[in-house]
Subunit: 339 residues, 2 copies
Amino acid sequence: MKKIFLKDIADALNLSKTAVSLVLNNRGDENKISKETQKRILDFAKKNNYRPNQMARGLSLGKSETIGLIVPNISDIFYARIAHFVEIKAKEFGYNVVFSSSNENPAIEREMIYSMLNRQVDGLIIASTQKNDEDILKLKEASFPFVLIDRYYPNIKTNYVIVDNLGGTKNMTSHLLKNGRKKIGFISIKSQLDALLQRRLGYESALTENGFEIENNHIKELDPFKYQDEMKGAIKDMVQKVNGLDAIVFTTHYLAASGLRELKLLNIAVPKKVAIISFDELGAFDLVEPPITASKQPVEAMGNEAVEILVNEILKKELKIENERVLQTKLLIRKSCGV
Amino acid sequence: MKKIFLKDIADALNLSKTAVSLVLNNRGDENKISKETQKRILDFAKKNNYRPNQMARGLSLGKSETIGLIVPNISDIFYARIAHFVEIKAKEFGYNVVFSSSNENPAIEREMIYSMLNRQVDGLIIASTQKNDEDILKLKEASFPFVLIDRYYPNIKTNYVIVDNLGGTKNMTSHLLKNGRKKIGFISIKSQLDALLQRRLGYESALTENGFEIENNHIKELDPFKYQDEMKGAIKDMVQKVNGLDAIVFTTHYLAASGLRELKLLNIAVPKKVAIISFDELGAFDLVEPPITASKQPVEAMGNEAVEILVNEILKKELKIENERVLQTKLLIRKSCGV
DNA sequence: TATATTTACTAAATCGGTTTAGTTTATTTA
DNA sequence: TAAATAAACTAAACCGATTTAGTAAATATA
C-alpha cells in the first residue's frame, strides 16, 4: 500500500490534476465535472486510500486547519483540561490543535507564537505569561485571529475568555466571614498576572466592605518556583506567630494543596483552628481531609467559548466584533471552612 | 512589520534565492559563499525578522520537525504529564509536538494517525487504544518512526516504553499481605488493555505465591465509562456483603479516588476495616484521608525515553535496533494500608 | 599562454497541492 | 446555418521553500 498523489489519480484515470482536485474538494458540481467522472475519481481515491499532503495543501491555501494553543504548563491539570476541551471543540469545527508550554517564560512564549505562525496555524489561543504586550499587539495589528484565555491584557483590546477573579475571591472571603472567621490571611504567588491581582483585590474588597482592615502582614506572596519551600514559613508566620489568623485564602489549587500539607505537618487543625479555601480546585479536593471548599472554574465553557470565538474570527471577512467573556466561578462548599 | 520571504531577501541584496537559502541553513561555508555575503544575508534576515514558512520548508524537505503524540485523554493527569515531558524533551532536539486524544476510540486513533501522517509529522508517540493492530503494523511495514508509550502490542515487535505492570501490582498486593491482610479484592476496568491484564496477573500471582486462592468474586472489572456509578455496588459487594474483604487493590488513580469516595460515603473505615492501594497516583494522594499508598509511575523517564528512542529512529539511516523499555514503578507507602 | 581548477555565485526544477485562464466539442439560439 | 452558449474538461502558474546542475570570472598549473 504505497502512498498515492493527486497526479497518480489523474494519470490513472486519464484526467487532469485540476479535475481530480476539484472533485475531491467537493467542487465538482459547480465546476461542471460530469457525475460519472466524479464517481470515478471518488471511487479511485477511496479505493487507494488517497490522503492529501497537508503541507502542500497548506502552502497553497495559506492555511492549515490547525489551531495553536499556548499554555504556561500542560501538566497543570487546569491547563490540561482547557486543552482537552479546546481539542474537542476544535475537532468539531474541523481543526487540529498544536500545543506548546511557555513555562511562564515570555521569551519562550514569543518563540512559540512565531514558531506557530511559521507553521501556518490559522489562529491562536493563548494563556499568556502576560509579559508579551509587544507580540500581542503585533498579532492584533496584523489582524491575526487569536483569543486570550485565562489571562488577558487589561490595556489591550482583544478577544478573551477569563473568569471573574475578583468576584470569585470576594465570594470566597465573604464565605469565610459569614462562617465567623475574623482574621483571614491570603496566600498567593508573587506575580504580575492580572488574575492574581484581581484575586487579591477580591479578598481586600470583601474585607473592607465588611468593616475589616487590610493588614499587610496577613498577605503573603510566594515565589512561583519556590512556593513549596516558602509555604511552611508563611503558614507559621500567619498562624503560629503573633498574627494568629483563623483562615487562609489560597489563590491556586497547588497553593492550597501545599498549604494543607504544611498545616498537617505542623499539626494545625483544619478547620478548627484555621479554615482554608482555594481558588480553583483539584479533582481530589473532595477526598482530602478536610475536604477543601473551592471556587471551581468553568473550564469546559472556557475552552468551548475560546474555540468558538476563534473560529468565528478565522472565518469572518470584515465584521470586527470584540469578544470579551468573563465567566463566573462556582463555590463548592466543603468542610475546610467549618460548618 | 510585514512578512518577508526568501525572495525578498534575495532581491534586496541582489542575490539568488539559492545563496540566501544556503546561508540561512548554515551551509554557506561548504558552498563557498563568501564570508562577506554571508554576513550581509544574516544581518538582513535578522534585521527584518525573517522566518521561513514551515509549510514550504516541510513540503520541500519532506519533513516537519514535528512529533505527533496520541494519547487516550489529555485531561488525564497521567497523560498530561507524559505530554509535558515529551514536549520538553522534544524541544531539546528541536522538535515541536502536535497532540491528539483518541478518547479510547480506535477509529479516532486511526484517524489521528493518518491525519498526522498527512501533516508530515516526522514520527509518532502513541499511547494506543491497543485495538489498532492493523495500523500499527502498517506504520511498521512503512518503516515510519514511532514509539508506543504506556501501552504496547504484545504480539507486534515495536519500540515501546512501558512500566512493569505485573511487577508493580504484585508488589502492591504483597505489601498488603505483609501488612496482615488476608482477603484482598481487586477493582479494575473492563478492558482489553494489556496493562490491565498484567495488573490482574500481578495481583493473582502475589496471591498464589503466598498460598492464597484466587476468588473470582473478589475481582470486579467496571465499565470504563460508568465506573463511578458501579463503584458503590462493587464496594458494597466486596466489603459489606458475604465477602468481607479487608483490602482492595485499585488499578488506576481514578478508580482509587472513586473507591475511597464511596468507602467514605458508606462509612467504612480505611484502613481499619479495609486497606486500599492504588496503581498510579494523583498529586493529592498524600493529602487525602487516609493518604493513599500507591505505585508511582516514572512519567518523566517515560516521556524522555520515548522521545529519545523516537528521535534516534527518525535520524538513523539503516541500523535496526528494537527498543523495548520496561520501567519500574515505585511504591509510595502511606497510611491507607495500615501501619 | 593555454588549460585546469577554484571561487562565488545563479537558473530552473522540485515538493504536492490549488487555481486562473483557457480550450475543445456539443448543443442552442437567431 | 452561422454565431452564441454550455458542458466538460486541461495547461500552466503559483504557494515558498530546497536542491541540482550549471556558469562566469578569477586564479593556479603546465
